[in-house]
Symmetry: C4
Subunit: 229 residues, 4 copies
């Protein structure tokens, strides 16, 4: 488990280095599905005080802390819902990165306007509906996971590995925590470029499915030819 | 007092590291209410020449310099008014950070458009009315404090720990100077994200009070569950 | 060839240092026309693992790998077309830099709005038409080169050393790879300044040909007087 | 003269550190009016190769190179006109910094929208008319100086120590080269904040003369009380 915690620590620190988090905003987790646990950043601890040992192990089924001296991130119930509901997801990242959060606060999905987007996300990055009433009660964080799952209905979560929570910010994920971090970085780049594109051309249309497929499939799936064999 | 001055020095330097100040813009102070003094940056001294000894001690009641070889920040009278009028405030930060200043120059409060805002400010960040006539005379800096206090009427200053001075820029504060710096950093992040949100969606509405309370109260007050116990 | 590969490596690393590429986006190549080869970054290898030996040598005529243990950049067919069709080009850079990509996604050429632009590009930076149908098939990357060449018809490629691929991003080039990198850096600066200019003044017109010529010709051609003799 | 050249070198390097110049854009000079010379950056030499000895000494009256192995900046004739025509100016800086250049390309002066502006510039930062016809000939750089002087008519150059050249970019100056650099940094900050202010509120009006005078005069002139005595 020490290597597992080290990877989760490095993923959290990479969010700082990539400029995606300020102060103690944001958190990254990884799941070890065989062991039935996730490891996640402790809540509200400054990034420069984090060590592998401060990553908290939480039971994927019960949500109980299994190991660790700290309280886990307050967003842990959201991570638990996503691991339970999204097949193949091994790592999750939550940030308040500027441009993705601006789209989330504007209540708009990020439209696929170019190949940088298509290289990472096979279509728009969806946005959840707003939470209301009971969903803002004690199960608020779990309800946040539920609306993300709802927004992904009919979508392969590894083909569109991110979503925006309305009025809140982005979650990104991947087969492992390193790819979740990479997707969070790509998401912010895509969100910024889309922001600037619509500033130049408010009526711009999404790219066609031919270009979308060409770029997504050259990096993902059996016919991929990007990267090393 | 040497530890006290060291903390004020570090708070001033943190503003530079966080990218909130340029040249000699900006200043941070802390109050020691038992000793009846505040410590503040000297006026117009380059940040890399500052030492703990160059922080100036000023009497909270009379405004006289109690200790120090330098002239205190020219904004000291503003700080004095805020310490006298805002209960529980132990540290104050003034910057000309880009996005908060843009809202101030535009004459608009920063609307609460998402949870990053709600995590730190329990509602809009208010803006003062413009100063005029006599208020631009010899007591200009004290009058600046007065209009901030006026803009906060009916608001708990620790629940909304910042305000914009119209045509000027932001002041932020907190129970101590470290939290004042943190609030100044959060304010600039919130100001930038709000700026980009209204660029995407000019007619966007504020978040509802349910979501506002959920986020503010999970970090502040007796029912807070963010961070470590 | 080891010095040649070292130069291509440094060009690729300079793109990272200049903030033009994120993750494994982007690639730089150089051609040695006497030897009949280009050297290019391998596909999808992290920048901090690159060495001179990992640069891949590719035959300029056949497109076959001549030397190297890695698969070359998936954009290699685009580079090949450009070297074959654009006289005098010795280095090519492809990035997804934010502002140039925003113009590309908006489907608009970058208009020449000032002297920074005129110092580097003797007129608008052109944009390709979109690719469609067969062009999105197996020869997609070569077709990308073809539409760039089409967009440059009638233009001296060393006088306008960059183009935008619609819905994709910029390619820049030069007489050697160092100048290609410099043009990619200048292109992003010009793209950002043009973006902000049209935000301030949407109806702004291009500069006149007198000012365009004055600036371009003081840096390029027989009458140049910028730089050292 | 070696200390003089060292100061000019440091001023040029400070422009890079402050993020105001890219590649070999930009230049700083200082005048020694008693010796009748200015020292300026050589043309087109990379910043990391500059030494005190590479600063070029030029006769203020004749414009001839007095000392130095390099060709001086191609903008030297502009600097010469400004030193001859603007009383009290001891240092000049020219950059293509992003936001100031965007205002210049948009053909608009930078309006005084807040106290950050008023702290440094006693009113709008003026913009020149465009150059045309003969002015684009061999005396182009001197003509650039002439239109700056024309745009400053009736203004104390040390009270408004900067101007925008239309379709080109900013020049800033001061009593010495260190203050010229400081004014160039302040100008870019003011240009960015004004850009964002008009994005939020296109119809925003300039601040009143009472607030303008209060801020400018607390830092400048006989009644200044900012900084150390």
């Amino acid at each position: 488990m020490s290597d597992f915690r080290e990877r989760v620590l490095q993923a959290n620190l990479e969010l700082v280095r990539a400029g995606l988090v300020l102060l103690t905003f944001g958190n990254a987790s990884a799941a070890d599905r065989d062991a039935g646990v996730l490891a996640i950043k402790p809540s509200g601890v400054p990034y420069d005080e984090l060590t592998p040992a401060s990553m908290v192990l939480v039971d994927l089924e019960t949500g109980d802390v299994v190991e660790g001296d700290h309280r886990p991130s307050s967003d842990t119930p959201t991570h638990l819902v996503l691991y339970r509901q999204l097949d193949g997801v091994g790592g999750i990242v939550h940030t308040h990165s500027t441009y993705a959060t601006a789209w989330a606060q504007a209540g708009r999905p990020i439209p696929c306007l170019g190949t940088t987007h298509a290289d990472h996300f096979h279509g728009d990055v969806p946005i959840t509906r707003g939470l209301a009433g009971d969903e803002l009660g004690d199960s608020y964080e779990a309800a946040t996971g539920d609306v993300i799952v709802e927004a992904l209905r009919g979508v392969d979560p590894l083909a569109v590995p991110a979503a925006l929570v309305a009025s809140h910010g982005p979650f990104a994920w991947g087969a492992d925590v390193e790819r979740a971090v990479e997707n969070a970085i790509a998401l912010e780049a895509v969100a910024e470029t889309a922001y600037r594109t619509v500033a130049l051309e408010p009526a711009i249309e999404r790219i066609g499915s031919g270009l979308l497929d060409r770029h997504f499939l050259r990096k993902h799936g059996p016919a991929a030819y990007y990267g090393q064999p």
